[in-house]
Amino acid sequence: MSSSDDIARVRETLLSRYEGLETKADILKSPELKELLAGIRNVEPSQRSAYGQAVNALQQELKEKVLSNMHEKSALPPIDVTAPFDINGEMPSLLPSENGTTHPLTQEIATLSDIFYRMGYVVEESREIDDQYHMFEALNFPKGHPARDDYDTFMTVEKDADGEPFVAPAHTSTMQNRILKKYRENLEKGEAIAAIVPDRVFRNEDLDARHEHTFYQVEGVYVAKGVHAGMLIATLQQFLQEYYGKELDVRVNPFYFPFTEPSFEFALSCPFCGGKDDSCKVCSGEGWVELLGCGMIHPNVLKAADIDPNEYTGFAFGCGIDRLVMMKYQIEDVRHFESAKLDFLRQFE
């Protein structure tokens, strides 16, 4: 008799015995099973591995049967799901209102959305999975462009219609082309395209106290006739002054992004110490906080949305929201945000 027949025969026996057992777990103590397990070491070395696997598979099958039976037995009786409360029960109550909180990041998104809304901007949402056309190409990152390397982008195994992997957007600018197209008709009516996109983005970065692979960013887009770079600086300055509730100085340094020309790195005078405190945790006494990237929208980006860059110009900016919240409350570890720890969350009413 071959060993695999052996196992099959024992399996039949045990399965039929299982049905009759009062204490189902006893099946795992059957002498036949023990014998099979003990017999593994007597099998010829060339077949031992296959035989061992087959015996273990049988043992595993029986274990799962026992476990699922245990779950079935401990399962609670059916309830009437259409009823408002339980039999002999009371109307359930809600938890105390004072325990309830919204997340500090969504609170901040609401705050800054409100400021931009008052400034005439519509609020749009981003995507969590997108194609490379929107993440890169429509933003003037040609295929194979080295600037793509600066965005440590998660890619999927699944491919889009072009045969390119989908991406987890590394910036909410992935919505820029869609927004420009959606509101293009504003321009014909002599109105501006003005939108922000506060939403979740992803970077393939190792986690530590200062780096998250999942974070939030607000993208801003403004296009109209006669928009110039000074307006970008003024708009961001006004926003930040409203956000912090005080007069602030701002500064731009040249930078490079493929989707803006010129591009800037934007800093504001430290809203917490004004540069007067060498031990300031936010600016380290330097007096400036580098906050965001921005610039005048590249003509190729406008063209990709069928907007004539000779007639209309605009600016765009992207700002990390987690950082704003961390600075505001002096939160020491960015990982708290996605930790779902109540001890953290309940500090933000």
């Binding site: 699922s68 779950h71 401990s74 609670l76 009786p77 309830i79 009437d80 799901v81 259409t82 009823a83 408002p84 409360f85 039999i87 029960g89 109307m91 359930p92 809600l94 209102s97 309830g100 919204t102 990041l105 609020v123 949402e125 969590e128 999975i129 997108d130 040609p142 295929k143 080295p146 998660f154 195994v157 889009d160 992997p165 989908f166 987890a168 002599g190 109105e191 501006a192 003005a194 393939n204 190792d206 999942t214 110039h228 770079a229 307006m231 600086i233 003024a234 300055q237 006004q238 731009v252 340094n253 040249p254 930078f255 490079y256 020309e261 003509p299 190729n300 996605e338 779902a340 109540l342």
Partner: protein, 821 residues
């Protein structure tokens, strides 16, 4: 990009103090990451001469030297180097000096007078390694006049750093800033920009600007062919005979180290130095190792292998550009040379190569091989092929200066196509409109001419011709950027755009989400945000099939491998941790996106569909205080939506076999104690308690339940007003005993219908009061309702109420065999 201020000063005057220069670079060129003052590292390093050198009385390998440090007095130093001898000019590190190699160590080594085997040594004579100039520790550095740059002299007692150009400041500028600026990966390019932002005219040196005339050398047979001309716009090469390979003069070694490179030998050092100067990578091959006296390019064949200078062998494919000799690959184009053609100390003849490679092609190779080099960093920015003749000419001259030799072949120049400088047309109006400025033509022209643009005519709509090294000037907006940056972005007028008073429309989805957040927070629940990606095991723990989830190909860890198909698994994951932290009753909720592989967006079919769900999990620990946890979850759900037009169908009656999405959504729940939310014949969500297997897998407390719902099904409760009646309402309770298996909802509907039928113009409100079951009778239950009647035109009587109660009793009995208790 490490910028040597001393090198910059060879090309342009710098009058600003370092801190102001750094500020200006930050504002007008790019972010400065670090400023290193090399002078400090070499403080106390002095040029000295060994006047007397005798064997140490107590140690075989040590010598006792008297050195002249220019002070007029001799100083005694003990030295262990085998090459120390009388008459040598050396670098003396005097007492108090820090050994330069240890300068950045946590505990730098500071010299002081010290007895060595009974003889006092005042400081030390330094080796290259101690001076942080290389790894050579076999002997002390011997200085000769050939180590100097022209114009410098070896003066005893003089500062070593000043003599060898190490009295330098290194300004390290973020590479990211220069992604579009191939020219700024060379000292020359940065020097030009520093002049430009200082509003000073810059003139490139003749060797870079003027096309050289090449001699026709002879003596070595060489064949050159560029077979990959699609991706190799230019390939120049020349053979040089009779070079002497040796260490570079010390000034060159010092210059390389200052700019972050490493000296190897005079030939390699010169190729590197010229790259650091001009941004154009160059390469030298050992002529005698090139089989068939051939050097060329072609695309690699799949499976070909190439050992590179780093000692590793790489497997090539058809997308790699390679450099080949007569028999096979000798270099990975634009990235690294091959080990088989390397210049070594025996090399007599060399071939110099200065080529141009397609930035996309070399980047792709580098990404695939995971190979990043200084040459690649420069090539993948798009170097100009127009600089190749100038650079190879300088390279030839410099090799001659440090290694001798003579040109031994013609200058090969395999140019694939004509290259021309970029031209862009723009007007003052175009430029000023985008900057908010009112610059005159002359001001604009001057800013650009300072960095060697040519402009014609002098005003109006005109042509701006970029200097040949600027491959980034393509659109008129590029001219706008140049003008703005060189002028100073800090001087732009800050004015807000003029806007219309039309209100910006609110985003309905954001409003809806915000309302959900506020409602649930008011109900004592806590909003959480969790990752969009989950572990395969997390999905399996809730019984989900990973086949339905989009999968990341470059996940950081298995923890974040799959896009979640529902939010609940992430929430369940967070329950035990909070429970253990001492929170015994709480509710967590999240609003987030879910993805189901294969489902594409309706409006935009090229991208996957995204559903927004709200999920909530609540637990009251291990005790069921007031009944099953299900009902508490239901109470929360009812905060978000009226259940009037949403049908709660028992999950046990829902057929998962025909609905993959539904199966995925509901797999975690106990079928007998959960319901799916059905509206218009479609499932929109699930609510219930979790199966025993899920509770065990996540270690959930017993009294745990939750729901997950597509937010589009939540019918926002809006305020509706019913006029108040002038007449008092009357109410009466009715208790109906029915079979255990009759659903509450059926009795409720029957009651409502019957009440309305008999209401005679009164409004009817029905509220549950209790659901009772006797301990000894589990076959039936008694449900009590409070019936409230309100009429707008008259006072209701007892008789009116009795009629309604009778109608209810009759219908309930007829339809559901219920008896009034």
């Amino acid at each position: 990009m490490k910028v040597s201020l001393n090198t910059i000063k060879q090309f342009t005057q710098v009058n600003l103090p370092v801190d102001e220069l750094v500020k200006k670079i930050n504002q007008q060129l790019g972010g400065v990451e670090d400023v290193i003052d090399l002078r400090k590292r070499y403080e106390g390093a002095v040029i000295a001469q060994v006047v007397k050198c005798e064997k140490h009385p107590n140690a075989d390998k040590l010598s006792v030297c008297e050195i002249d440090d220019g002070s007029g007095q001799l100083t005694q130093v003990v030295c262990g180097a085998p090459n120390v001898r009388e008459g040598l000019t050396v670098v003396w590190l005097k007492p108090g000096a820090t050994v330069p190699a240890t300068f950045n160590d946590p505990e730098p080594f500071v010299l002081e007078p010290k007895e060595l085997r009974g003889v006092v040594s005042n400081g030390m004579l330094a080796s290259a390694k101690e001076l942080a100039l290389g790894d050579d520790h076999s002997g002390i550095v011997e200085l000769t006049d050939t180590d100097l740059l022209p114009g410098k002299t070896l003066s005893i007692g003089f500062s070593f750093a000043e003599t060898f150009g190490l009295d330098d400041t290194i300004i390290d500028i973020e590479n990211k800033m220069f992604t579009h600026r191939p020219d700024l990966f060379g000292q020359l390019g940065v020097a030009r920009e520093i002049a430009g932002i200082g509003h000073t005219a810059f003139t490139s040196p003749d060797w870079y600007k003027n096309l050289p005339d090449f001699a026709i050398g002879e003596g070595l047979e060489l064949h050159v062919e560029n077979k990959a001309s699609d991706v190799v716009p230019r390939f120049m090469a020349v053979a040089i005979k009779d070079v002497e390979v040796k260490p570079s003069p010390l000034w060159l070694q010092c210059a390389l180290v200052a700019m972050g490179s490493k000296p190897i030998n005079n030939i390699v050092d010169v190729t590197n130095y010229i790259m650091l100067l001009t941004a154009q990578p160059t390469h030298a091959y050992d002529y005698d190792k090139l089989r068939g006296h051939f050097l060329g390019t072609r695309m690699a064949q799949a499976g070909e292998e190439l050992p590179l200078l780093n000692g590793k062998t790489y497997k090539l494919d058809e997308s790699d550009i390679i450099i080949v000799d007569g028999e096979g690959p000798v270099g990975l184009a634009g990235i690294m040379g091959g080990g088989n053609s390397e210049v070594s100390s025996d090399t007599k003849n060399i071939v110099l190569e200065v080529a141009n490679f397609d930035m996309y092609a070399v980047r792709k190779s580098s990404m695939r091989h995971g190979l990043f080099t200084d040459a690649l960093t420069r090539f993948n920015k798009g170097q100009s092929p127009l600089q190749n003749p100038n650079v190879i000419n300088l390279l030839m001259m410099s090799i001659h200066d440090v290694a001798g030799g003579a040109q031994a072949s013609k200058m090969f120049d395999e140019t694939a196509s004509q290259h021309a400088a970029q031209q862009v047309t723009a007007s003052d109006e175009f430029i000023n409109a985008r900057l908010g400025l009112a610059l005159q033509s002359q001001e604009i022209n001057s800013l650009l001419q300072n960095v060697e643009f040519t402009i014609s005519p002098a005003d109006g709509e005109r042509t701006f011709t970029a200097p040949f090294w600027r491959t980034d000037i393509v659109d008129p907006e590029d001219i706008v950027e140049e003008v703005g940056r060189l002028y100073g972005f800090d001087k732009l007028p800050r004015e807000l755009p003029k806007r219309s008073t039309k209100p910006a429309p609110k985003n309905a989805s954001q409003v809806r989400k915000q309302r959900i957040r506020e409602t649930l927070a008011k109900a004592g629940a806590n909003e959480v945000l969790t990752y969009s990606f989950v572990h395969e095991n997390t999905m399996k723990k809730v019984g989900q099939d990973v086949e339905h989830a989009f999968k990341l190909s470059n996940a950081l860890s298995p923890d974040l491998q799959y896009y979640r198909t529902s939010l609940m698994s992430s929430l369940l994951d967070k329950v035990p941790m909070n429970f253990r932290a001492g929170h015994d009753a709480f509710a967590l909720y999240e609003i987030g996106k879910t993805h189901f592989k294969g489902e594409m967006d309706e409006a935009e079919p090229d991208v996957p569909n995204e559903d927004t769900h709200v999920a909530l999990v609540l637990t009251s620990g291990n005790k069921n205080a007031t009944g099953s946890a299900y009902y508490q979850a239901r109470k929360y759900l009812e905060q978000l939506t009226s259940l009037d037009d949403i049908h709660l169908q028992p999950l046990s009656e829902f057929d998962v076999s025909t609905d993959e999405w539904g199966a995925q959504l509901t797999s975690a729940y106990a079928p007998q104690r959960s319901a799916v939310l059905v509206k218009d014949g479609q499932i929109w969500g699930v609510i219930g308690e979790f199966s025993e297997a899920v509770k065990a897998a996540f270690k959930l407390p017993q009294a745990t339940a939750g729901f997950e719902v597509h937010i589009n099904v939540l019918n926002a409760r809006s305020n509706t007003y019913k006029p108040l009646s002038r007449f008092p309402s009357i109410w009466q309770d009715i208790s109906l005993k029915i079979a255990q298996n009759v659903a509450y909802k059926d009795l409720f509907e029957t009651t409502k219908k019957a009440a309305l039928a008999a209401a005679d113009g009164a409004e009817v409100d029905i509220a549950p009061v209790s659901i009772y079951q006797a301990e000894n009778d589990t076959e039936s239950k008694t449900i009590s309702f409070r019936i409230t009647l309100t009429h707008h035109e008259r006072t209701l009587t007892e008789a009116h109420a009795a009629a309604v109660m009778d109608s209810i009793a009759v219908s309930a009995n007829n339809e559901l065999s219920a008896g009034v208790v």
